[in-house]
């Protein structure tokens, strides 16, 4: 069957399930009625083999052949029930999603909790074609699974639908259900390419900026695209594979106001991108900065929460018209 047809069928089935199940809260326990199950391709070939065995047994009147055939048929049936039960009573809870910049991949963290008495095996979360690593959840335990969703534009990225699935045991069947949570992830505007210098508020910047790089090391923050590579903490990266940026407590902290109106030659989205870039640069230099948007002004400030607030304001800035 052509792949496109399969995908269309699956999308139709998912839409049907959405109408049938309704929207889910941010934490949902999987009940029997919403767990769907179908044989996998491997399971179908297993079934075909059992059918061939049945025909041969009938033909040869071989009772031992019948015995093995029916044992395997029983095995398939039992596996189907185990597969279906494997998802029952699983609780899915949306933990959160760290904000990302547009065109990055948003990672929705979902807690897979086992409220039953037995080990739950090989539970995967899938969104579109991306399937997470399978997790085994012991009785009463919980595991966090990340569902990756590529983002396109700023604003809220929604995880409108994802599938919880398991092919345990032996990949003969795939049991799954669709979950429709109102899980959201904030998407900041994509920072414009670096180049445009930070606006100088009172003309005395050049002297002060000399001493910026040599100032005392004050900490690390997570790196974002466009950060100067010479300030990436490579040693920390080697340890933890997380890109971190070294921050320095600047002796000079000349405040600057980042103004929407100063970028009149750009269109609205480009302005937001440029403002996001400036916010990052100012924060990297530990300069106090403020943001002035049409209808909203954020006062001067420093630090991670301030940066987040500014970027959020940019992300949620209403589009023109």
């Amino acid at each position: 069957m052509p792949v496109a047809a399969v995908q269309r069928l699956e999308r139709w089935a998912a839409g049907w399930a959405r109408r049938r199940q309704g929207a889910d809260p941010l934490a949902v326990i999987l009940k029997r009625r919403r767990i769907y199950i179908l044989p996998t391709a491997f399971g179908a070939s297993f079934g075909a083999m059992v059918l061939a065995m049945l025909l041969a047994s009938l033909n040869y009147g071989a009772n031992l052949g019948f015995a093995l055939t029916f044992l395997l048929a029983g095995l398939g049936l039992v596996a189907m029930h185990h597969c279906h039960n494997n998802l029952l009573g699983t609780r899915l809870r949306f933990i959160g999603a760290a904000p990302v910049f547009a065109e990055q991949v948003a990672e929705f963290r979902i807690a897979v909790e086992n409220t039953s008495a037995t080990l739950r095996c090989e539970i995967e979360l899938a969104h579109e074609q991306i399937v997470s690593e399978p997790v085994d959840v012991p009785a009463g335990g919980a595991e966090t699974v990340r569902v990756a969703v590529p983002t396109r534009r700023r604003g809220w990225a929604r995880l409108d639908r994802f599938a919880v699935q398991a092919r345990y045991p032996a990949r003969l069947f795939r049991a799954w259900t669709w979950v429709h949570m109102d899980a959201r992830c904030l998407v900041y505007p994509r920072p414009a390419p670096p180049g445009r210098p930070l606006p100088q508020s009172s003309g005395s910047g050049a002297a002060g900026r000399q001493s910026r790089g040599d100032s005392d090391f004050s900490g690390l923050r997570s790196a974002v695209p466009g950060d100067p590579p010479q300030r990436i903490a490579w040693k920390a990266y080697a340890r933890s594979e997380v890109l971190l940026l070294k921050e320095f407590a600047g002796g000079d902290s000349e405040p600057c106001m980042l103004d929407w109106d100063s970028l009149s030659e750009l269109d609205a989205e480009a302005r937001l991108s440029q403002l996001a870039r400036w916010c990052l640069e100012a924060a990297a230099e530990s300069r106090p900065f403020g943001l002035r948007l049409p209808g909203r002004t954020i006062a001067l400030g420093t630090g991670e929460p301030h940066l987040s607030a500014c970027l959020e304001a940019l992300a949620l800035h209403p589009t023109a018209q």
């Binding site: 090989e122 045991p169 990949r171």
Partner: protein, 668 residues
Amino acid sequence: MKAASASADHDAERLLWVAAIVLAASLPHLLGMPVWVPAFLIGTMALRIASALRGWRAPGRPLRLLLAFAAFCGVLARYRTINGIEAGSALLVVMMGLKFLESRNHRDQLVLIMLSYFLMFASLLSERSPLTIVYCLVLVWLTTVSLLHLGRVGRKGDGRATAKLASRLLLQSTPIMVLLFLLFPRLPEPLWAIQSDASGATSGLSEQMSPGDIASLKLSDAIAFRVEFDGRVPNERELYWRGPVMNAFNGRTWRMAPAARRAPQATIEYLGEQFDYRVMLEPSGHNWAFALDLPKSWSGPRHLRMNGDYQLGLSFAGPPLPRYDYRATSYTRYLAREPLADTQQRMLTRLPAGSSPRTRALVATWLADDPSPRQIVARAMDYLRSQPFYYTLTPRTLRDEPVDEFLFDTREGFCEHYASAFAVMMRAAGLPARVVTGYQGGERNRLSNYYIVRQSDAHAWTEVWIEDEGWTRVDPVTAISPGRVTQDAWRTSFGDQAAAGAGVSVRVPWLSNARLLLDAGYFYWNSWVMGYGPEVQSALLDRLGLHDTLGGHASTLLLLVVAVTIAASIALSLYLAWRYRRKPGIDAAARQFAAFARRLARQRVLPPSPSEGPIAYAARARRLLPRAAAEIDAIVALYLRARYEPDADRSILAQLRARVAAFSPARA
């Protein structure tokens, strides 16, 4: 680099495991196959594993295609077909070798494991030795373990848990297997022609009989068939199990003449008591069936018919069925007054011209005295009785005139000699006569109510056609020693030679009992598992009272199969739901904590709200009950350890339980 080699090792380990399973599954086949097939299988596997270990490049597509073509031609050349169990298995084995060679990922390995089931299945189609069954049982379990292990997505579970899971799944599917086995409708005949594979084990009886040839009689303890009587059992002297009938004699050899006619059953008059029984035939390589002389009605495979010589058999022209069971009703007394046509009369009295002159001369003197058929029979029996005839299994060989030499010179032989000579005497007197082969007697299993008829019970006797009486059975061997036909005398007469040959003495009572017990087990296994067919199934349905509910048996059975499968499915699902729903054991600690909170609530400490963790709750309680603070802290600390520490053991839970039980905030 290190990681890569580790993964290669892992890959090779998995491949080795799959190779072991495939080899084990093909072992029952490999024993009977041309040597190149196992060599091919092992070669392809070794090549693949070596390439995984050494990091060689996998063989390319052209080489694989060439190998596939060569293997296919090899199988075709050896078996002349790719159909049938043996050729099909050989083809499957070589194709699995090729699949192994090109296996790249988990999926391919899973397919190989799955096909191992099919290999096992193919060996079960033709094999029936208990050893193979036990072997396959173990192998099914191992294969299931491998299927679960290789079928795991992501992190591999530990081996012991997988083995346990395999046992559980197989145990849970066993009831389904049993129900389907009992209820699934069976076909009375094959869907398509079965290829004849082996020549089959030839037994004591054959299509011809040359009493001069000693080697042709080989006594063995092998079992010919088993018989279970429904009600009364005939006298052991009357247990003549009728088999192939020899009509044509060339002076030395008796042969079965083609008897295509249907039995003239209408002319048979059955007398006396009727006996109902079920026969479970061991594979013989023939399509004969044996019945107590003389059967009136029978049921079993659809093609079971009685031919013109009153012999039961499968009438389809094809290779022998491996095993079949049937029921029959017989009367040991009967009058078979079949009118003989002239051609038949001539055929049944024919002797080669000029053969057995001395016999003819002897018979001529009897005819001169009294030509009545009864008198001739009596004179012939008298002759055997009065002259020094011996019963032996090692008679001297007979040369040019076997019958004359036996009757006048050697005077020693076994049943075939006597039956043959007697029939010749009758024919010399102008009486239609033929030799009937079959079995006589049988060993009753004292521990269970059925008879075992062995190849050593093979027998031959004579039938003489007498005007007004029809076909009359005459067993000339009874003339030798009056007690010979009773079971014990018969055994004794054979005893020494048979025991010497088989190396088994049956004189030790407990040993003989153990043997009978073993045979009883085998009997029930055969009659309920191996011999379970349409007949037994119908009987089972009748016993369940489901015979007439619907049209035919098959549709009733199909409906039952569907109903039972659904019922089993529901039962299984309920069982699993019950198993999986039980409250987790980890809550023992939580229950203690709840009890602790109830005690505090009596002291006006509100129970913890859903959003309040145990530490915050403890802090609140400590503020309200400062005097119990130390105790509260200790209990909460224990609770946190019992609940959240991964390696918390039972002693911590016990401490928690003791502390909570002793906790009384009022006194503190």
